[in-house]
């Protein structure tokens, strides 16, 4: 069966689980545990291993959606999950203490997914707090990763239509990068 693995990354509380739940056609497999860091993000539970959902395209092809745990102490899972991924949707919550630093951190950490596929960045909770503007996120990207034209959208992970647009933009971008010979790395061993 052909499969395409898309990774959802970003800090705790960015909306990864919600986004996958919204897109998945199957009941999402979750590994949630009580959140011991409520002083950082005030929610009861958080992902500790992975979230998993999927979209069946036809009988022999599916898009697998994996969500990483956002906390760095579970980063051993990051290495496991990024091995098979073809692209990444990086969600960053606008109300994080330093959302631009979070974006930069996760992009660095998962840079190989850009090199061998593509990345879309979704800024969540921008309706809750007036964080950095999209132009500021783009400027920070240009400073830290000159020449990368990575899509940056505001997005509500609860909005299925928006999440579909983000996923389709990612796939379109990956395919164009492939067509124009922009992919420089292969899947990790």
């Amino acid at each position: 069966m052909a499969e395409h693995v898309i990774l959802f990354t970003g800090p705790m509380g960015a909306g990864k689980t919600t986004a996958i739940s919204n897109l998945s056609e199957i009941e999402v497999v979750r590994t949630e545990a009580n959140n011991s860091e409520r002083h950082i993000v005030d929610k009861e539970t958080t992902t500790v291993a992975l979230d998993y959902g999927e979209i069946l395209i036809d009988g022999d092809e599916k898009v697998r959606l994996y969500g990483i745990p956002g906390q760095q102490r579970f980063s051993f899972m990051w290495s496991i999950l990024k091995k098979r991924a073809r692209g990444m949707i990086l969600l960053v919550n606008s109300d994080a203490p330093d959302p631009i630093a979070e974006m930069t951190f996760f992009l660095d950490e998962f840079r190989e997914l850009y090199d061998r596929g593509g990345v879309v960045i979704g800024i969540t909770r921008s309706d809750v707090i007036a964080g950095p503007t999209l132009a500021q996120f783009s400027e920070a990207l240009e400073r830290t990763n000159p020449g990368l034209v990575i899509p940056v959208f505001t997005v509500d992970p609860r909005n299925r239509d928006q999440m579909e647009n983000v996923l389709l933009a990612l796939i379109a971008n990956i395919e164009m990068r492939e067509i124009f010979g922009m992919l420089t790395a292969t899947e990790s061993a």
Binding site: I57, V149, V155, L168, A169, E175, R177, G181
Partner: protein
């Protein structure tokens, strides 16, 4: 002046800060493009029949309009346009924050010039994105997503963009006009034609994008 035997009255010369009546968005796009390159801070007020005044504050990159962009009037009748000095000390054009100007520029750019090149573009140019538009906030179709993905990864002419994306040249031109009005396109007359990876040039199977689009029931691409 005579055209085919019918008398056509000459249009009055535009006065500074005011323009003759116009239908559609070409004149608005020209005015916006001109004001955006001024060194002196300047804002715009456009009066649009049945849709009230449209106020643009370029410094705040914001606009105010009683008509939501979901109901953008493609064939708007403009009944007046004036420039209003901005800058420090000038009273705000409207109560902040207003709406993000990019959404308005997207709509105006797509609907101006009737599929012909915007007047500030030159023949022989190739284009490439400097940043993606915020697609979750702009009404768009999936053909536009595909075109934007092309522009994000290669310098292409309008004709090449249409060819890679499988759309009419006029549709590609409308997108180029919009992205250019939003000032998120880089232009070059020297950039060579993009090279296509040989293994993809011969691919015959429909793209994953196309298959996923169908699976999601999205008929807009």
């Amino acid at each position: 002046m005579t055209i085919d035997g019918n008398y056509v009255a000459p249009e009055p010369a535009p006065q500074p800060g005011s323009y003759p009546v116009s239908i559609g968005w070409t004149q608005a796009a020209i005015a916006i493009s001109s004001v955006m390159v001024l060194k002196t801070p300047m804002n715009l007020k456009m009066n649009i029949e049945m849709h009230g005044p449209l106020l643009i504050d370029f410094e705040r990159h914001a606009f105010s309009w009683s008509t939501p962009l979901e109901h953008f009037p493609v064939d708007a009748v403009h009944t007046g346009l004036e420039t209003i000095p901005g800058g420090a000390g000038a009273p705000p054009l409207f109560e902040p924050p207003g709406h993000d100007l990019d959404g308005l520029l997207w709509q105006i750019g797509l609907n101006a010039f009737d599929g012909a090149p915007a007047f500030w573009l030159s023949s022989g140019e190739r284009y490439r994105l400097t940043r993606w538009p915020n697609l979750t906030q702009h009404s768009h179709n999936l053909r536009q997503v595909r075109m934007i993905a092309v522009l994000g990864n290669a310098y292409v002419s309008t004709q090449e963009l249409a060819g890679y994306s499988g759309v009419e040249v006029a549709e590609a031109q409308r997108l180029i006009n919009a992205l250019s009005l939003m000032r998120i396109l880089s232009r070059s007359v020297e950039a060579p034609a993009a090279a296509v990876a040989p293994e993809t040039a011969t691919a015959t199977r429909q793209s994953l994008f196309g298959r996923l689009r169908k699976r999601l029931g999205r008929a807009d691409g």
